[in-house]
């Protein structure tokens, strides 16, 4: 599947209710054409038609930004939907974006060999909480523990969420940008 086709399909799973209101009731079946051509009527639409944000700028993959409440539903659909079947979670990265903490998921389908990147940010730094995807890809169990260890993001419904590399009594989360350790860190 091309990135355009993926974007159209995945975007249609989470329609934006505001876009429906903004649009006229005369909603034609644009989604079913699926020829990847840019539809002039869509370009002029100021309200995004999906709750997901898509971007390909500055990355070789199609990037999807999703809010935490729709995150788990999206991931489950990406895995189970026959047309996407992203069964291989090959990279799970925690990132400190400054004001928010985020997790980046790199997905690939072993059947179709297409890839997609899903990004989700936590609401705050004090009590960062996201849904676990352990139930979808079992590799997430270790990777989420690593992210918890280094960024302090808690994953809801994780079977065994505890520190992986560091000791239980370690203070702070070292890969956060504001982490300070005068003894062990050489700052240039």
């Amino acid at each position: 599947m091309t990135n355009e086709a993926l974007q159209e399909l995945i975007g249609s799973w989470f329609p934006n209710p505001e876009a429906d209101m903004a649009k006229d009731v005369s909603k034609t079946t644009v989604e079913e054409e699926g020829d990847g051509e840019t539809d002039p009527s869509k370009v002029e639409e100021p309200v995004p038609s999906s709750l997901l944000q898509f971007s390909e700028e500055g990355s070789q993959f199609l990037n999807i930004v999703v809010n935490p409440e729709h995150f788990h539903d999206l991931m489950l659909k990406l895995k189970t939907n026959e047309a996407t079947s992203f069964d291989y979670l090959f990279c799970l990265t925690g990132v400190d974006w400054g004001e928010a903490l985020g997790v980046v998921y790199h997905l690939e389908s072993t059947k179709y060999r297409h890839s997609v990147v899903v990004k989700v940010n936590t609401a705050d730094r004090e009590n960062p909480m996201l849904n676990s995807v352990c139930d979808i890809w079992r590799t997430a169990e270790f990777h989420e523990r690593e992210v918890f260890d280094f960024f302090g993001i808690k994953f809801k419904n994780h079977p065994n969420l505890k520190r992986l590399f560091l000791t239980e009594e370690w203070d702070g989360y070292p890969l956060r940008k504001d982490y300070e350790d005068e003894i062990n860190m050489v700052i240039k």
């Binding site: 500055g58 090959f90 072993t110 079992r138 590799t139 890969l175």
Partner: protein, 373 residues
Amino acid sequence: METETLNNNFKSEEYFINMGPQHPATHGVLRLLLTIDGEIIKKVEPDLGYIHRSIEKMCERDSYQQIVHLTDRMDYLSSHINNEAVCLTVENALQLEIPERVKVIRTIIGELTRIASHCLWWGVMGMDVGALSTFFYGFRDREMINDIFEETCGARLTMNYNVPGGLMWDIHPNFINRVKKFVAHFKTKIPEYDQLLTGNIIFQKRTKGVGVLSKEDAISFGVSGPVARGSGYSCDVRKYHPYSALDRVTFNEALQTEGDTFARYQVRIQELWESLSIIEQLIDNIPEGEHRVATNAVIKLPKGEFYQKVETARGELGVYIISTGTKNPYRLKFRSPGFSNLSALNHIAVGGKIGDLVATMATLDLVIPDIDR
């Protein structure tokens, strides 16, 4: 009647034993907490972090040239391929045109690295299941490769031969001859490996049907490399996302479908032949040209995100760089193959015996610094 009361008095109970961090079968400082019932494993819990150096955090402070050197210290048996992964990411981000000569030399040395790593693995694999002599055979052949590396790169293990933009310096004049000599030598030695270990009935009994991992589980656990290919999961990055000179060579992806320890063993032996074939296709056709293109002394990557995957001896290594346009990465993540492969260990080992766990660990071929980073 007496035996009956005896049986009632002795109930099976679960208890813990500690395997490692100083255990020969864990091949490094990995500690496994085993919950066992008699000799049957109920749960394996890895305890990590004994040699964690936080390379990812160090990368955020270092320049892109410096980062290359840190990657040697992850999977030290695939050091050249690790270096290549970072260099490729940086070169792709800068959209540098890399000379053909560099691509071919990188691929040849990468495959030599794979053979050296598999030789070491084969040696310790035999040793783990009780055959000491394989260790000496494996190291004998690995030594020849290390000598070639020493002559060309100046180091035997942590080679640092790649730099963003090409190679540190050109190959040694002896390089081509010595590689050809090694290929001819090693072709006579792989059958010897088979004679010594593969056909051995004790070895087969220790490995066949032991530590089975299904294809679906392999994908779900993100397992890659020879471990995944032993389960019939076709995942060779060299095939699906060819890099350097791998797009112009023909080779077969080693695949076995059984998913047991013996299948993983066979995949690696088969890969030795394939790597030799790749080297043979390239060694006579190293293009003339520069060994390096000039880059700025201070490399600044454009703003954006860059991902590059390569196939190390252990599986899929991913380098993920988030750049904000400065001379350091904002975030750099190494997706190491050993880390994901280890996550499947509990699933593979449960229900087996402790001796089976040792055989399974041997074919997972873990390198602990790769997991701990």
